[in-house]
């Protein structure tokens, strides 16, 4: 084994339903929710956004801009070469407000702010305007693969320009309009549960989450580097043994044997139907590997892969595995080296990401 590290995560910032904005603590004080919608624990935004700018920003834009700022400060790269964001459903609350106003005002006399804040690329534009970044700016709004598409875009950009730094991030909000629609199609549990008992509730549906995470991706290792990103692969609606075969091919392509993986970050969502395929792949190919889960902390949302990436990168950076994410405990090596993120969204969109720690 031992594939050359192609990309490095040189900084990260995340705001989630846990107190993750503070990089000095790593999931030690776990937030519990006695409802099926997990919303972000937010910092004092004034630490990241100037008050004049903040007055017009919606809650999610404040969260996104703050997460991006945390990442920029952490990476010490204050002017990236490009900014790429991802979102499954965009700013749903603002979209609902804008459409509500369209109806109320009979399509006349519409104020610009709701409209500006309802477009999916508002966050990428806001970050660029704030730091005056005139470089590449792109947003992917592709549901369960939005963040994966953004990562792919950034990797391709970095292949063209090895000295570049790209800020890549994701956001999705737990909006009321989406929750109601998702309940109709049984994406979320009917019964109200405590988030920490998500995996002890063998029923259909998950719990809704939200969050925004940003990463500084480069091809150069620096003093700020958290870990290396070896590769990523996605599989859509796998049938039969397709997912298992795809995982074997993915690992083999990266010259990694299942025994070389120290830990799995599983994107199991607590949905008895949707988790079945992922669980069977883990059982089949990685049954002796240390396993962690995270959706009881973040909830389920389109770009939850970004939370998984942050969790994996944090464990490599800190060389610790928080108690609250441990599921299956096997012997861990003295030093964590290879982490495999295995996420799924609604049992359809599957993602593999290979991370590696640096000596």
């Amino acid at each position: 084994m031992g594939e050359k590290v192609e990309y490095f995560i040189n900084g990260a910032g995340i705001i989630s339903p846990q107190k993750t904005f503070d990089s000095n603590v790593f999931l030690t004080d776990v937030a519990q929710y006695d409802k099926n919608v997990l919303t972000c624990i937010t910092p004092d935004f004034k630490a990241y956004i100037n008050p004049i700018q903040m007055r017009r920003l919606s809650r999610m834009l404040r969260i996104g801009l703050s997460a991006a700022t945390i990442c920029l400060r952490d990476s010490k790269v204050f002017m990236p070469d490009g900014i790429v964001t991802a979102t499954g459903y965009g700013f749903l609350d603002e979209t609902a407000k804008f459409l509500g106003e369209v109806l109320k005002q009979n399509e006349k006399q519409l104020t610009p702010t709701y409209f500006m804040q309802s477009t999916s690329n508002a966050l990428a534009g806001l970050v660029a305007l704030t730091i005056k970044c005139m470089g590449y700016n792109n947003t992917f709004a592709s549901k369960g693969y939005a963040f994966e598409n953004a990562l792919t875009d950034v990797m391709m950009q970095l292949n063209e320009n090895a000295s570049a730094n790209f800020l890549v991030g994701a956001y999705d909000e737990a909006a009321e309009v989406q929750y109601k629609a998702s309940m109709r199609v049984e994406h979320f549990k009917k019964e109200c549960i405590n988030n920490l008992s998500l995996f002890e509730t063998p029923t259909k549906g998950s719990i809704q989450g939200e969050g925004s995470a940003f990463f500084m991706l480069t091809r150069k290792q620096s003093v700020s580097t958290w870990c290396g990103l070896l590769d990523m692969h996605v599989v859509y609606k796998p049938e039969g043994n397709e997912l298992n075969d795809a995982l074997k091919t993915f690992l083999s392509k990266n010259h990694i044997q299942p025994k070389d993986i120290d830990l799995i970050v599983s994107g199991a969502s607590g949905d008895i139907d949707h988790d079945a395929i992922l669980d069977s792949v883990i059982q089949s190919s990685l049954h002796t590997t240390f396993q962690t889960r995270f959706k009881h902390l973040s909830g389920e949302y389109c770009t939850a892969t970004a939370f998984a990436l942050w969790l994996g990168a944090s464990m490599l950076k800190n060389q610790t595995v928080p108690e609250v994410v441990k599921v299956k405990k096997t012997q861990l090596p003295e030093r964590l080296k290879n982490i495999l993120v295995l996420n799924h969204y609604m049992g359809k969109s599957f993602t593999f990401i290979l991370l590696t720690g640096l000596d």
Binding site: P51, M54, R55, R56, Q105, Q109, T111, P112, T113
Partner: protein, 91 residues
């Protein structure tokens, strides 16, 4: 319906501006009806000017069509109040 005086309009506009433009936390000290709305003063920007155009239309039935006119009208809360008093449709 009783026509509002300039002073009544100033009080109403001040409240409406603070609410519409989320200015609660950013009002400068000594802010009054003569404080410039743009540049130094309140520091409003071009998006705010669009919000003000909509506010005039929605609340007072005044359509501002000439951008040059806007520069004068939106100088301060007082100039806005004077413009509204002069141009609002008679009921």
């Amino acid at each position: 319906m009783k026509q509002q005086t300039i002073d009544e309009l100033i009080v109403e506009l001040r409240e409406e501006l603070i609410k519409q433009l989320n200015l609660e936390d950013t009002l400068p000290e000594g802010f009054d009806e003569n404080t410039p709305l743009f540049g130094e003063g309140l520091g409003l920007d071009s998006i705010d000017s669009l919000e003000l155009v909509v506010l005039l239309d929605r609340n007072y039935g005044i359509k501002l069509k000439d951008p040059k006119e806007g520069r004068h009208v939106f100088q301060s809360i007082r100039t806005m109040a004077e413009y509204i008093a002069k141009n609002r449709p008679q009921v």
